[in-house]
């Protein structure tokens, strides 16, 4: 391992995409997007990608056109969750075409996952290179007309978050959905994320508590596997709306693993009611566009 003080990226990590050059920056690529929602959490593994995916699916089932931008460059989870691994990204005259997930083109996705030559390839990039790609994702993806752009982020309050917000800021309205799990160790990190939102002037639409309890399929006993109550308390503390609690649901897990549409396929499942309720609150909170 070479010893360097240079702030640029390590040399061995070349751009892992063959043939995709930097497209011409088009400031108009977000002009057709009516609402942008950042899904954030200070904590890893709380379900940001899950909530981003299910919210997008629920909004689409409510008749909206939805795009998902996955800016988790080290751990891009969304392609698999939507059964889109291995799809190619094509260039069009306005930049990069997002990957469409349905024939009607009502659900689209962009993720670094599509740009890796091998799925197990590690994206070992320092901040500046991550920032450069995120700026391209924001300006060079030809989203077209969208009701909602859901932006899934990695955990933390660092390069990806700052760059994403800076790049998206000219495009209003911008709101944040903050995800936590009930236990104190998550709430502790998410408090810091709420401070981040305040400091960057990002409007918090609400807090979602994920993994809120598990109902044993054998005896129907509900256990607070990751403690309880943290999400609601956090929302109260921060003075933001509490949008709901999503229980641990093996059907949801399986859907995400296998890239299925949970909202369509499991309407009777424990997490369905919570997720659709959260989506409805988002719909109610975001005014419809005037024709």
């Amino acid at each position: 391992m070479k010893e360097r003080t240079h702030p640029c990226t390590q040399r061995e990590e070349s751009w892992a995409v063959s043939g995709l050059s930097s497209a011409t920056s088009d400031p108009g690529n977000l002009a057709g997007v009516r609402h942008i929602i950042l899904v954030l959490s200070g904590k890893g593994g709380v379900g940001k990608s899950t909530v981003s995916t299910e919210l997008a699916l629920a909004l689409r089932h409510a008749g909206k056109k939805v795009g998902i931008l996955d800016v988790d460059l080290c751990g891009p989870s969304i392609p698999r969750m939507l059964g889109a691994q291995g799809r190619a990204v094509h260039q069009c005259d306005r930049g990069w075409a997002p990957v469409f997930l349905d024939r009607e083109q009502s659900l689209s996705l962009m993720s670094v996952g599509f740009l890796l030559e091998k799925p197990d390839e590690a994206v070992v990039w320092r901040g500046p290179k991550k920032n450069a790609l995120i700026k391209q994702f924001v300006s060079d993806v030809a989203w077209g007309e969208l009701d909602y752009l859901v932006v899934d982020t990695p955990p933390g309050t660092s390069d990806e978050h700052m760059t994403t917000i800076e790049a998206l800021r000219p495009h209003q309205p911008l709101g944040a959905l903050v995800v936590t799990t009930p236990q104190a160790v998550s709430v502790g990190d998410v408090r810091r994320e709420l401070t981040f939102c305040r400091k960057t002037g990002l409007r918090v639409m609400g807090v979602v508590e994920n993994m809120s309890g598990f109902t044993c399929p054998h005896c129907a006993e509900c256990t607070s596997v990751f403690s309880r109550g943290g999400g609601e308390e956090l929302a109260q503390l921060a003075g933001v709306p509490f949008l709901g609690s999503v229980p641990l649901d093996p059907e949801l897990m399986r859907s995400l693993e296998e890239g299925h549409d949970f909202i369509q396929e499991f309407p009777g499942s424990p997490a369905f009611a919570a997720l659709t309720s959260i989506a409805q609150k988002i719909l109610d909170a975001t005014p419809a566009c005037l024709p």
């Binding site: 360097r4 240079h6 751990g75």
Partner: protein
């Protein structure tokens, strides 16, 4: 502006700062002056500092929320059961420092002395350092870009007065980015024994963990093994097992077979978790690996 040219020749190349694609890069002058070729003096300083640390173990995962901090804390506790073993737990998750809370040390302060920063001691033989101890409020957010985080990690390794330590356990944030590159880089001359990689059984974790294993190979970091956390849930009422995070693609076991890395063990998801037995199991496996 922190844009890196698409065709950056690399800071260590003969073309550094001189290539056509360097024009406009904010680091052009630095590269052209040859500064990129100078080793960071901190690496030697850290090597000296680490002479009193016998074993260094990184706890990694590509994935967030799998239990790195939980595992690190329990490993530290388990190893510290022997009063004659000196343990140091270093938390380099700068944005999400969980270790103070998990160890019950929230609100503790770090003190400076002539020999550097003093870690916070939970026991006489268990010292802890985290950026969490440097924040004045639980709401304080550390909103830093890569270079500043790297600076903090350098300070943690160079300026903390750990004393004589048998095991330094380093808890990391999820991913394969600045923090991971920095800790490997700064400890390069001091020899890291290896990495323990944490995962949960489902594919959404494993796909990130494969990347982490890939990262370890790239930076020539030995892998002690993989721990599968949240592996099955035991209902406290009926005691039957359920798979909350189903191993739809074979779980850690199959991944470890495919990638030829050891599976150190599985930890169940139990709200009343007690992994003392596991800690002892891990300790003996680890000692076998380290001593061999």
């Amino acid at each position: 502006m922190e844009e890196v040219p698409h065709d950056c020749p690399g800071a260590d190349s003969a073309q550094a700062g001189r290539g056509a694609s360097c024009h406009g890069c904010p680091n052009q002058r630095l590269c052209a002056s040859g500064a990129g070729a100078t080793p960071d003096p901190a690496i030697e300083e850290i090597k000296e500092k680490m002479k009193t640390v016998k074993h260094k173990i990184l706890v990694l995962s590509g994935k967030g929320g799998v239990g790195k901090s939980t595992f690190s804390a329990h490993l530290a506790h388990g190893l510290a059961e022997d009063e004659n073993t000196q343990i140091a737990l270093l938390d380099i998750d700068i944005c999400g420092p969980s270790i103070p809370k998990i160890m019950g040390l929230e609100g503790e302060q770090v003190h400076q002395s002539g020999s550097g920063w003093s870690p916070v001691y939970l026991e006489d033989n268990l010292g802890v350092m985290s950026v969490g101890f440097l924040l004045s409020s639980p709401d304080d957010a550390v909103i830093w870009r890569g270079p500043k985080k790297n600076g903090m990690i350098k300070q943690f390794l160079r300026d903390v007065d750990w004393g004589d330590v048998d095991y330094l356990i380093v808890d990391t944030p999820p991913g394969t980015s600045d923090e991971h590159l920095s800790v490997v880089q700064y400890l390069a001359a001091a020899h890291i024994d290896g990495a323990v990689i944490i995962t949960t059984p489902q594919e959404v974790s494993l796909q990130d963990v494969r990347k982490e294993i890939n990262f370890c190979h790239k930076v020539k970091l030995p892998i002690i093994g993989v721990v599968e956390n949240m592996s099955g849930f035991i209902c406290p009422k009926c005691k039957k097992e359920s798979q909350i995070f189903p191993p739809t693609t074979g779980g850690a076991e199959l991944m470890c077979q495919d990638l030829e890395v050891p599976l150190l063990g599985r930890v169940p998801l139990d709200p009343l978790i007690g992994i003392q037995e596991f800690c002892n199991l891990h300790q003996s496996k680890e000692e076998n690996l380290i001593s061999s």
